[in-house]
Amino acid sequence: MKSSNHLIRAKRIEKIGISFLTGITTLTIIPIILIVGYIVYKGFPALSWDFISDFPQNGMRDGGILPAIVGTIYLTLGTALFAVPIGIGAAIYLSEYANDNFWTRAIRIAIINLAGIPSVVYGLFGLGLFVYFLNFGTSILAGSLTLAIMTIPVIISTAEEAIRAVPQSFRIVSVSLGGTKWQTIRRVVLPQALPGILTGVILGLERAAGETAPILFTVAAFFLPRLPSGIFDATMALPYHLFVISTQVPGMPIKIQYGTALVLLIFVLGMNFAATIVRSRARAKREW
């Protein structure tokens, strides 16, 4: 009798526990819904072809945000140009070639710590190294390099994880058939790891595209009524533009602020969505 009471009590406690966990999990999606919903609600009226294809006018209080959109696209591409080959190369080296010794452990620790450095510190570092020391000036080149340094650790860790997830037996079979290490990596390991690597690349670039602090000192222009003409040119960019029109310009129409936020959100969430599709399609196709 006593033990059956105990059992009933244990079951009841479990039920309460599960309801509680379900509750708090549901709570976590509320902020996301609120943020996205609010920005879409406030920003959607501003969206029009002119808004994304026009230059700012009347002290940015009117017109569109074309230079900021173009700038963010350039910076994202520039970041990818530097961060993707270096990140993937380092991931291949660390997972396939590096021995487990003092140096590789030090490199790993460095990578983990790099990911934790505040983005404004990257910005200052970029200012010192690229803008002044290497004399690139405030330019797309300096901004892309700064963002790339920030993105590389993300790409390395996700790519390394994806490479390590490829079963060891594939490598052994490939080598036993007369494959060199590189042939094995190129023909078996990388194709299988590619979706995972791609997901990491997109997520890393997405973060870079949305950052303000690293571009603040290295590339971003307060207002530039033309498109950048080369890699040594400064440019406007969406995150910084949003900061500027939200805090620095008196009499700014709310509509334009939220419209800009919405465009940035679409840009970033769009990349996120692409990453999700890559991942789920690869998962459905994967046979091992």
Binding site: S169, S176, L177, Q192, E287
Partner: protein, 256 residues
């Protein structure tokens, strides 16, 4: 034992230890006879797989601390650091206990080794696909679906594909490490039957997955116990009149 003509491989006083300190092979000397099924028998942990993986230097990938002695393939020591291991592994192919097909089509699995070697001639590739599949008794089952994923095959078919993939490299020696351990009796029989045909062309080294399989297949048999070669002779002798008490006990199932 002296090195003679028909010794395709000669294991000369080989010792091996992994870096975890466990002695895996201890002064092993034995021949591998050309065009025969050479069986390496014994309970697990006896060193059979380690020796097998020296023949194609696959042990290079493992944490081996110490190797001593010589493994002569056609009289040349493959343990020599100067050995071209890529060439060696094409010459000495290996089938594993788990049928690991690569994540590609049946056809791509078959020509994988040839492509690694830079062979691109389509006629040669077609030819190889057909011969190797016929040799491994898989041709009739897959000839109409060579472009299907290799993962679509059954366990037994996968293992025969692995065998075909090795044959496609036109090796001289085929190492099989418990190739039928995951297979049903019918698939096992098919593999064993192909070995009987294949030995006319190739030298076969088999680590069997059971004593019975050793009995069915062995032309020559080596019995290993804890890193030591206890007994080596013809399969017939080992199974009817073993010299060593321990060999007899193992074969009759008194331990292991």
């Amino acid at each position: 034992m002296e090195l003679t003509e028909k010794h395709k491989i000669f294991v000369d006083n080989v010792s091996l230890r992994y870096s975890d300190g466990i002695e895996s092979l201890n002064n092993v000397t034995m021949p591998v006879i050309a065009n025969k099924i050479n069986v390496m028998l014994g309970p697990s942990g006896g060193g059979k797989s380690s020796l097998l993986r020296l023949f194609n230097r696959l042990n290079d990938l493992a944490d081996v601390d110490f190797v001593e002695g010589r493994v002569l393939l056609d009289g040349v020591d493959v343990l020599n650091p100067e050995t071209n291991v890529i060439e060696l592994r094409r010459k000495v192919g290996m089938v594993f206990s788990r049928a690991v097909v690569l994540p590609m089509s049946i056809k791509e699995n078959l020509i994988y080794g040839l492509e690694l070697a830079g062979i691109k001639d389509p006629k040669k590739l077609e030819e190889t696909i057909e011969t190797s599949l016929i040799q491994s008794a898989l041709w009739d089952e897959v000839k109409d679906r060579l472009d299907d994923s290799a993962f679509a095959l059954s366990g037994g078919q996968k293992q025969r594909l692995c065998l075909a993939r090795v044959l496609a490299n036109e090796p001289e020696v085929i190492l099989l490490d418990e190739p039928t351990s995951g297979l049903d009796p019918i698939s096992t029989l098919k593999v064993e039957e192909s070995l009987q045909t294949l030995k006319e062309t190739y030298t076969i080294v088999l680590v069997p997955h059971s004593v019975n399989q050793a009995g069915r297949t062995a032309d020559h048999c080596a019995f290993f116990l804890q890193g030591e070669l206890v007994e080596y002779s013809s399969g017939k002798k080992i199974f009817t009149n073993p010299e060593d008490q321990r060999t007899g006990d193992y074969i009759e199932g008194r331990f292991g």
